[in-house]
Amino acid sequence: MRLKKHWREFLIFLSIMGPGMITANVDNDAGGITTYSVAGAHFGYALIWSFVPIIIALVIIQEMCSRMAVVTGKGLADLIREEFGVKVTFYAMAVLVFSNLFNTISEFAGIAASAELFGISKYIMVPLCALFVWWLIVKGTYKTVEKVFLAACVFYVSYIISGFLSKPDWNEIVSESIHPKFQFNKAYLLMLIGVIGTTIAPWMQFYQQSSVVEKGIKLKNYKYSRWDVIAGAFVVNLVAIFIVIVCAATLFKNGIRVETAKDAALALKPLAGKYCFYLFAFGLLNASIFSACILPLSTAYSVCEGMGWEVGVNRRFREAPQFYGLYTAIIIIGAAIILIPNVKLVPIMLLSQATNGILLPFVLIFMLLLVNNKRLMGKYTNSRIYNIFAILTIVLMVGLSVALLFTQFMQ
């Protein structure tokens, strides 16, 4: 009897699962993979402990979004517009568009890099992927799109397999994670800021909340939605840990220094074999395409919600022209910039980090105000303890994201 009940609960969870899992997984995008590869290659297992606070921060922030979505039935941009007025919303959306555009460009850069790893010209691969990503959303419904996204989440397993292929020393990993060795030098601290600072980006809150709303999850099923967030945070960080492990077990052991995920993959080939290399490269391609789809989608959702235009994957192009127009424009611009020969990506990365850093404090503070608004949330506001943790997380995240910006400008 009890087993049957658990089985039923698990089935309900599977039907609710999606928004949290997808949002968290996009966190491991091209930029994330680069950061984790470099962290593994330069510092071995010394940074693995940092994924524990990352999981906690991710759960705390994203759970609030999920809760607001279920209780109010509105997206974050909707709520900001309704509670804080049009001016704030407009400027927040303007910054968000730029921030997401820069992020999308770096995803297409990831596609270009992984295409080159497989020996395919980026001039073929980038337009093809852009077309696929565009076609998926414009022709799909929420249900089919979500299924494709969840399938993309499964492909992250390639990193876990490549982790095993790299034959790491598991005892060392365990002992390093339990007794982390802090290093108080500049390089280590910079890397730490990089690893934690990229965890929370403004688009994630908007996307998670909108997709929970579009999925239409009920209050009585909310606990499953919370599990979705928690499971997502664990899965994404497990994958991240394995990326660190792959690079630590091979590149760090041999003292190879890398700057990008592409370098890391190329350096893996002679050390861990070609299967490990292909899996790593495939993981990068999958992550980049997946994120290149979600980021423009998230932008379109947020802007149209905030400005009061028709929203939704379930509508047709003509029914929601602004929604699909914005989505299309961001993909075209993102892909086009990568196709410029010899384009410099560093300034784009800096701009992306800068816009994120500017927007993040506002978004998180709005969220905290909204989630504690009794009129909107009724009895589902944050408890006092939750608020203390949320404020701590927000202060930490904002601090790190600003610190990250400074470190990048100094370099």
Binding site: K74, R81, G85, F90, M307, R375
Partner: protein
Amino acid sequence: MLSIDKKTNGSARIFIYFSQLMDREVVDKNARSCGQLYDIIVKPTQVYPQSSHLIIREGYPNRKYAVLAWPDIEEIGEREIRLKLEKSKLIYKEQHNNKEELTLRRDILDQQVVDTANHKVIRVNDIHLLEVDHCLMIAHVDISFRGLIRRLGFEKVVDFLVALVHKNAGYLKYEQLISWKHIQPLSINPVSMTIKIDVPQKQFSNIPAADLADIFLDLNSQHQLVLFKSLDLSTRSRIFRGIDFRAQKSLVEEMQPKEVAEILNSLPADEATDFLEKIPADVADKFLNLMESKQAKRLSQLLGYSSDSAGGLMTNEYMAFHKDAPVESVLAQIKVRVFKTEPAQFVYIVDEVNHLVGATNFRRMMLAVQQGPIQNAAFPKTYCVHLSSSVKEVAYLMDKYKYYVIPVVDENNYLQGIITVDDILSQLISFAWRKVKKIKAKAAQ
């Protein structure tokens, strides 16, 4: 009529946008600053709600709010709003929200509302107010892009730039103002959890059921539920009929079983069955127990048939009369009977034990001898289908004999129900769609 004359002769009529009034300085009669206009409370007593109170906000960061009645305002000037009182008469409080009232800033501006004229859910960018006799009335809501630009404070700049490019641009010429009489606000009363529906029950009843369902699906789940509960039974059942099973289910999950039974009572039998056969049997039984016994009996009978047979498609709401009944008495009975759906044009003729004898329509009945038995007015031949006939057979027969409605009988020729063309059509359309998809998939390969 008198009041209208007074308005046109007396004070001038001016339109003003709420965004232009918002944050305007408020001064007392000695020209001392009292703060800024924050919000306006309106009385939704008429078609166009009238301003009743003004909310003033003062101080930063410790904000305080004062509420005062509209007659205490001396004048709404270009730069500032002058009061008749002294500032010392105003009572400032930390809170200003009286939850019951409708206020412009909190409940309308930037919120989603239903536009019952264009059958859409829209977001309000600005509110167009009409000044009449020192009072403000909500005349329109503005949903245009220009309204957004105005709120951002760039109206003049953007107007100038647009005019440079194209003098007669649509952006400048057309105002997207929607009259308040078509607007249904969606602000939820936090105490009673209802939406106040003032005039518009009538407006909702003018919207065709399918469009009404579309509007409904555009709302978020919370608004859906609250609006649904605030509507009258006939509008509720029209919405329920129009939405798909998923939306129906999620509504039912939030309602009391008694309310569900009430809606199922008001639905045509075949549509109620469609819903009931998709939910778990124990839940369906619970609803059936709460329903009128007559409808419940009908439904449980229909529920016994498989959903893709004639028995599953049919409704048992039909008109049947004994073969010897005089035509005029049949017509008289039809006149007084109440139907849930617009019944089909056919009348069935049966014997003492409900064997199907024949069918007739209104034209034949009107042309027949009024005192004669109804069987004289029957069609020469009536075709029917069996309870177990498949959808395809039913569709084939209806097409062959050009029937809008076909009677269903059991193996002993007892009349059981009727199938109307719309029930068959929806089956055929979904069938055709599957086929089109298959063909497309094949073509893609």
